[in-house]
Amino acid sequence: MAKLTLPAQELMYSGHAACPGCGPALTMRLVLKGLGPRTVVSIPACCWTVIATPYPTNALGVSVLDNPIEATGASLSGLRAAADALGYKDLNVVGFAGDGGTADIGLQALSGMLERRTNAIYVMYDNEGYMNTGVQRSGATPLGAWTTTTPVEGSSRGKPESKKDIMSIVLAHRPTYAATINPAFPEDFVRKVEKARDLTGPRFLDALTPCPPGWKYSSEQSIELGRLATDSGVFPLYEVEDGKYHITRKGGALKPVDDYLRAQGRFHHFTPEDVQAVQAEVRRAWEHLLLLEKETA
């Protein structure tokens, strides 16, 4: 057999209740490959509650705590305190929450956990909307995207606001480590999870997770879309350790955002001007990131 480029152990079981082609499902599989079995995962109300634990089954080969949508950060502080009290020194305490449960509803609990410097890893799987309840917009939904609450009809042309920059919010708390991860680049993804695992203090991983029904594309395109997101600069791959920025994938010139947008039904109403507006936003953010990398080198 050719050498596997990822750990062989599977801690996410088949038979789970994710849609075909689910980005968050692949993301969980890769996160657990990086963390290993000495892990407890706290999951708030989100797609993954439904995917993991239709009673009496569990899709994960590790302990799972289901908690309210706003409580992931707080639950991590509690789990870590319990692990410390019980003397579990090698336990990975991990939160796995969607963008709504992280950037909107769970923001104060996340901020509290980071500020308390809880020794835990928080993974946000960002499918850019409230997908479990049928595609409503969240703070992480990108500019112009169709959702059921930002429709494309009458005077409404998708979401009028830009995506919330959750990485900057997290980095303002000076975590030990923060990184963006993308299941379309699994080796880079697992390397960052392993790095986070071996550090202590608050750690944050921001995963872009394509969603076939929510983004309106055919399920086999999930990996290709993730690749386009990074190579167009929509979702750059980088990590920040002790305040130092490091971009982990630089492929020369960025691809235009057009291919990424055109591949998704949620952007089908875009005019050339809409595409240009997104392109300008992406270019600004990318140049800012390059600058941060240079300044913190």
Binding site: S14, G15, A17, P20, G21, R29, Y55, T57, E220
Partner: protein, 284 residues
């Protein structure tokens, strides 16, 4: 008061059917109520929706356990879902089926009706062959078979509340009305099974869910199956690496094997295979 329960699959429009029925009844001057069962509404998964119609305001807010009418949008559900649980004696079972109603098994004293709503939907370009949108055709059939709402009101509800292709949907409902077939109860039917309440769970003093999800098979979600042509396979493992269902294993020589009990047919492996050795084949 008349209570109607809809059974369908995620994506077929059962919830919209229940809402449209309520809107049509309202246009007829009645007091309607409509709501879905809140559950796992994944594409292909069974879904339930409820409607109540009365001439007075409805105060009940519970799910329907003893329906007067059961509407089944997908004939495959007759095999997998206990659709007739709690159905009242003298009630009606309406099924989307090519079969004549006499060939539909039903509890004693339940009248039967069938309509080929899939054929009607596809004839009017509603949905696709794998996911036909049958709700408006079946509503027309319901208007005739149960007499709970007028066809004219169904048409007006479609005009007001169906944003896509109202003309085709209205014609589909008229076709359903015209072609629904009715039969009386079966001669030797057993009584309808009683409503089965969800059992109360005693929360154990320990882990709550300890059975691995791999005891559940998800093969039934699949409409396309990956077939690996091993002669071109380079054993690069990309299919394994990118599978969101961990549905790729390996044989003794390190060649990939699709774990068919779990594959949902998303097609990522075929799309990502560098030498293109994987083909997605329609299930026979």
């Amino acid at each position: 008061m008349i209570e109607i329960r809809f059974h369908g699959r995620g994506g077929q429009g059962a919830v919209i059917a229940s809402e449209l029925l309520a809107q049509a009844a309202f246009l007829d001057g009645r007091e309607p109520q409509s709501f879905p069962f809140f559950g796992v509404e994944r594409r292909g998964a069974p879904v339930t929706a409820f409607a109540r119609l009365d001439d007075r305001p409805i105060q009940l807010r519970t799910s329907i356990e003893h329906p007067d009418v059961v509407v089944v949008l997908d004939p495959g559900l007759l095999r997998t879902t206990p659709v007739t649980d709690g159905l009242k004696a003298g009630g009606l079972l309406l099924v989307n089926s090519k079969l004549p109603p006499e060939e539909i098994a039903a509890p004693a004293s339940v009248r039967r009706a069938t309509v080929d709503a899939t054929r009607i939907a596809l004839a009017h370009g509603l949905g696709t062959a794998s996911t036909p949108i049958v709700n408006t055709a079946i509503l027309g059939a319901l208007a005739k078979a149960a007499g709970v709402v007028s066809l004219a009101a169904v048409g007006r509800a479609i005009d007001q509340f169906v944003p896509a292709r109202p003309e085709e949907n209205r014609t589909a409902s008229a076709d359903g009305f015209a072609s629904v077939r009715l039969a009386g109860p079966m001669e030797h039917g057993a009584p309808a099974p009683p409503h089965r309440p969800t059992p109360l769970i005693t929360v154990p003093d320990g882990p709550l869910a300890t059975t691995p999800s791999s005891t559940l098979h998800t093969a039934a979600w699949r409409t396309l199956t990956p077939v690996i042509h091993l002669e071109k396979c380079t054993r690069c493992n990309f299919c394994w690496k990118f599978c969101p269902d961990d549905a790729i294993g390996f044989d003794a020589n390190g060649f990939p094997v699709v774990r068919l009990d779990y594959c949902k047919g998303c097609g990522i492996c075929a799309e990502e295979c560098p030498p293109g050795t994987i083909e997605m084949v329609a299930e026979g």
